[in-house]
């Protein structure tokens, strides 16, 4: 399989996906949960009768929560998001809901996040991703010090990593619109898991390149990369299939509380496998052949690269 030769197609697809992700991140943007915007979220369960979303919302607005978000989770369970509740507010909500069905609803889960914590969350999350990327880059530079231009490997791995994170975020914007998926603290855990997975996957491919470069230094770099990709592609697919099997099992049999998180992981694993084969290694080739020195590679240049 000549994957390296088709690198422009893959790089192009990725560029479009990343661009689209960035666009949707600005509008409509992620649906931020209370970890980011402060407030209280409650999961209520009605055991006797199911009042319906509209009724629940009306009752809560009546109780003074005019910006309430109500989501029916099925089985008489409702996810409710309000402003940060003060003293006595929770009782008022409980009372209002009790009047709907005559029986007090059960509070399954209640989370309150104060304004000052929420304000820092986005910044902390970005800082964590940046710091993790820098350390990973430094390690790759060290681990690949034996091959020429080890710096390129580090940059390519991190570009692939950011590519994965951005696309996972983009997919999550879509999920937010489609199934009201909300970004919460565990979502950040999901993103960092994606980073870990993405880097791991990229390194397996790079490791093979490192080995093949050392074994046959005279071989053209693009052939070496293509050979390495072909040698590792079965393993990459096998690993991502097994990991996805576990994630899918958790999605199907696990509770609703982890659903959003598992969707991030699923996206991340799929994109991470794709990027390690079709992006990270291709960046190395593009860099080697000087294509990256130009912002937009022109046709004549490509022709020479192709014939080489």
């Amino acid at each position: 399989m000549d994957i390296v030769g088709k690198r422009r197609i893959f790089l192009g697809i990725s560029a479009i996906l990343v661009a689209l992700s960035i666009v949707v991140l600005f509008a409509p943007g992620l649906r931020l949960g209370i970890d980011f915007v402060a407030g209280t979220s409650i999961t209520y369960e009605f055991t006797d009768a199911d009042p319906g979303t509209a009724e629940v919302r009306a009752a809560l607005i009546e109780a003074g929560q005019d910006t309430v978000v109500v989501q029916n989770l099925g089985g008489g369970e409702y996810f409710v998001r309000t402003n940060e509740l003060g003293e006595g507010d929770k009782e008022r909500l409980d009372d209002a809901l009790e009047q709907l069905t005559g029986a007090p609803p059960i509070t399954l889960d209640l989370t309150t996040v104060g304004r000052s914590v929420a304000d820092d969350t986005v910044q902390n999350a970005i800082t964590a991703v940046v710091v993790a990327s820098i350390f990973v880059m430094l390690y790759i530079m060290y681990a690949f010090r034996a091959v020429p231009n080890s710096f390129r490997y580090a940059v390519a791995a991190v570009v692939a990593l950011l590519h994965d994170v951005l696309i996972a975020l983009g997919v999550f914007v879509v999920l937010g619109v489609a199934i009201n998926a909300e970004v919460n603290a565990i979502f950040i855990v999901g993103i960092l898991t994606v980073i870990g997975y993405s880097v791991n996957d990229t390194i397996v491919v790079f490791d093979r390149i490192r080995e093949n470069v050392t074994l046959a230094p005279g071989r053209p770099f693009r052939s070496t990369v293509n050979l390495s990709i072909n040698e590792t592609i079965v393993r990459s697919l096998a690993t991502s299939i097994t990991t996805m099997i576990v994630i899918l099992a958790m999605l199907l049999f696990g509770g609703a509380s982890l659903r959003d998180f598992l969707l991030v992981l699923l996206t991340g694993v799929a994109v991470g496998t794709y990027s390690s084969i079709f992006i990270a290694a291709q960046i190395l080739v593009a860099w080697e052949s000087g294509e990256l020195s130009r912002f937009m590679p022109r046709r004549p240049r490509r022709a020479t690269a192709e014939s080489a």
């Binding site: 209640l110 880097v199 791991n200 996957d201 490791d207 099992a249 049999f253 509770g255 509380s257």
Partner: protein, 690 residues
């Protein structure tokens, strides 16, 4: 070969050990205690898997300066002592941030409401109490924990909710709430056993005994009693005085007189009876508002009439039954600023207050009295002083000239005046200055009468039982008690126990199904190396859980996610090795050589990949506590443990097993070592393009 077998034995020992660790719910080896009876494999579960409450507070000083490490430590101690009152199984209070400025309080199992109960004589066990709620009251949501405070067993039943009593406009109870109904039920359910002991009385005139002889058959045998003390000759000349104690019938009559016709009485020894009662009545008021003495008092009165009552001990009486508000109450208590109080303790007098009073009271000896008069709340009284805790400027621990630990306290000018007046007074009376934090006694020193009032606002507290740790604790508590910090609730998370249970069950099922599918895939695709990989993954899972229990790592949903990721990495390592081995086989090597090369050539990529993952985990752990939640750190810790263990299983367990299999008859059929789907040789693919 023997090397492989040694490896196999080592693996077997590890598996057996891990299994033992997991299947014995509670381990306790020489003080190293792990696990608990109630959870799966005795693993410690996070709030999201067992229910409970998680609170994060920011500590703010009044002057806006960031709190110092010592401030934080003081606040942590105060909160810890407050949280311990709630009777949840393993509460944690932990400082967050570098430098710390926030406090995380976790109370697993804390629910909407609770009932705290104490039975005199500790007659009711934790299990018995829980059974009472579940079986007698039908409260299947009840979970009972226990705590021991000063030899008294405190039982705390956690419940989802308690119906409050219905009150009319005047605040009178129309219908009692759950707590009261349950108390009545407990009185009916748990018996009170009274130990009744009579002192033998000399028989003066058999006809004058107030007790009627029952049929003359059950005459109590006069036992070998009351030999005169040789050093104190009896004033009366009567040789061998006859003694008597009230008979079982006398006792029965006493109970009949107060309306207890059928009571279970057992004679344990001469003059020593045991009576079992249900529904003991407490003191109260009749309809006209006249006090009715409690049933115990009426029984005591009756018993005193028939004989010389030496002891009456009711065991199993409900001495405390307090409904609690659960989460809301916990928030209110934790968030309140610590209250430091200086009180003047007026001890009971050494000599009798009036000549005709028996002194010391209650039959205490002089020595006992000396110890009790200032320490037993039954005897001393306390009054407020005008020492304002806000005037306490500092408190620190040090040692005096002779090396004894002491606590120095420093008041400002205003406080110094008040302190002088109080110490001057109590130095003359011999009373104590009792210092309380949140209503609990911290220390109660007396003032040396030779010194008198302490002027200047500086004082030293010393004590024979002071250890350096205790002095330090007292000083920290004194300081933080007067510290003008306030706590702002930043984050709250309460998970219903039932939801936690559901999440746990579903996660276990999901994990089990996922693992089974994964093993199926690996075995069907990679054949023999797949079976080896699957075996080593099972070993991995067992060891991972065992390590979690030993460290211990608290399992949360986020932790479960980390387990998935590390499982993925563990599979990846095995797949890499299997792929490499396959390539080596194809290039014409013998099976054993191919396996050896497969491992050594897979190692660099596994190493680098896993180290990168560990780097990400470290960054996550480092940043984790900035998010006001502990899930990140839990995830990171779980991930690091998982990754390290996955490298071990891949490179030790898999290798030993694969070599053993290769050396066995299976090893002769190398086709079993090549995957099902044989992709075209990559070399030729590249070659065709070049």
């Amino acid at each position: 070969m023997s090397r492989q077998f040694r490896g196999l034995i080592f693996i077997s020992v590890l598996v057996a050990l891990s299994a033992a660790i997991l299947f014995i719910p509670r381990l306790d080896i020489g003080g190293f205690a792990r696990g608990n009876e109630d959870s799966v494999f005795g693993l410690s579960l996070g709030l999201d898997l067992q229910g409970g409450t998680h609170l994060v507070y920011r500590v703010e000083t009044e002057d806006g300066e960031p709190p110092t490490a010592e401030d934080m430590e003081g606040v942590r101690r105060i909160i810890e002592s407050r949280v311990n009152q709630f009777g949840v199984s393993e509460p944690t209070v932990q400082l967050l941030g570098t430098p710390p400025d926030r406090i995380l309080v976790q109370m697993p199992g804390l629910r909407g409401a609770s009932i705290t109960a104490m039975f005199s004589g500790n007659t009711v066990s934790q299990d018995g109490f829980e059974q009472f709620f579940v079986e007698e009251l039908g409260r299947e949501d009840a979970a009972v924990t226990q705590d021991v405070r000063e030899n008294q067993l405190v039982l705390i039943a956690q419940l989802d909710s308690l119906e409050p009593p219905d009150l009319d406009e005047n605040g009178n109870v129309v219908t009692p709430g759950d707590a009261e109904r349950y108390r009545q039920a407990a009185k009916e359910h748990f018996p009170v056993t009274m130990g009744i002991l009579f002192a033998p009385e000399p028989v003066e005139d058999p006809d004058a005994t107030p007790t009627p002889e029952p049929d003359g058959t059950a005459t109590p045998e006069p036992g070998p009693t009351a030999t005169p003390d040789p050093e104190e000759p009896e004033p009366t000349a009567t040789p061998e005085p006859e003694t008597t104690v009230p008979s079982i019938e006398d006792v029965r009559q006493v109970f009949a007189n107060i309306g207890r016709d059928e009571v279970e009485i057992e004679e344990l020894d001469e003059g020593f009876y045991q009576v079992t009662l249900f529904n003991l009545e407490e003191a109260g008021f009749d309809e006209e508002g006249n006090p009715i003495p409690s049933e115990v008092d009426r029984i005591r009165e009756g018993l005193e009439e028939v004989g010389d009552l030496a002891g009456l001990e009711p065991f199993g009486r409900i001495v405390q039954w307090t409904p609690g508000g659960g989460v809301e109450e916990a928030k209110a208590l934790i968030g309140s600023t610590a209250q430091l109080e200086f009180r003047e303790r007026v001890c009971a007098p050494v000599s009798p207050p009036s000549p005709d009073v028996e002194w010391p009271p209650d039959g205490l000896t002089q020595d006992q009295w000396a110890a009790e008069r200032c320490n037993n709340p039954e005897y001393y009284t306390e009054q407020a002083t005008d020492i304002d805790p806000d005037n306490l400027e500092d408190a620190f621990a040090s040692v005096n000239e002779s090396g004894q630990p002491i606590v120095t306290i420093v008041f400002d000018n205003e406080g110094a005046d008040a302190f002088f007046r109080v110490t001057d007074r109590i130095s003359r009376t011999g009373d104590l200055l009792a210092i309380y934090l949140d209503g609990q006694e911290l220390v109660a020193p007396r003032v040396d009468p030779d010194i008198g009032g302490i002027a200047g606002g500086r004082a030293i507290i010393s004590g024979q039982d002071f250890t350096p740790e205790r002095a330090r604790t007292i000083s920290i508590q004194l300081r933080s008690g007067s510290l003008p910090v306030s706590l702002e609730l930043l984050q709250e998370r309460s998970v219903d126990a039932l939801l936690g249970e559901t999440s746990l069950r579903r996660s276990l099922v999901a994990g089990g199904v996922g693992l089974a599918l994964l093993l199926l895939f690996v075995v069907s695709y990679y054949k023999v190396p797949g079976v080896v990989a699957a075996t080593s993954l099972i070993v991995y899972t067992l060891m991972l859980l065992a390590v979690f229990k030993l460290i211990p790592v608290t399992l949360t949903l986020a932790g479960a996610a980390a387990v998935i990721l590390s499982l993925g990495l563990a599979v990846d390592a095995n797949i890499l090795i299997a792929e490499r081995t396959k390539e080596e086989l194809r290039s014409g090597r013998g099976l054993l050589a191919a396996i050896n090369h497969g491992f050594s050539r897979a190692w660099p990529s596994i190493r680098d990949g896993n180290i990168s993952t560990i780097i990400v985990a470290f960054v996550l752990f480092w940043f984790g506590d900035r998010f006001g939640t502990s899930i990140m750190q839990g995830f990171a810790l779980t991930l690091v443990v998982g990754v390290l263990l996955s490298m071990f299983t891949a490179f030790f367990v898999s290798r030993v097993l694969l070599r053993l299999v290769a050396a066995s008859p299976i090893g002769r059929r190398s086709g079993l070592f090549v995957p099902v789907e044989d992709v075209a040789a990559p070399e030729s693919a590249v070659g065709s393009q070049a």
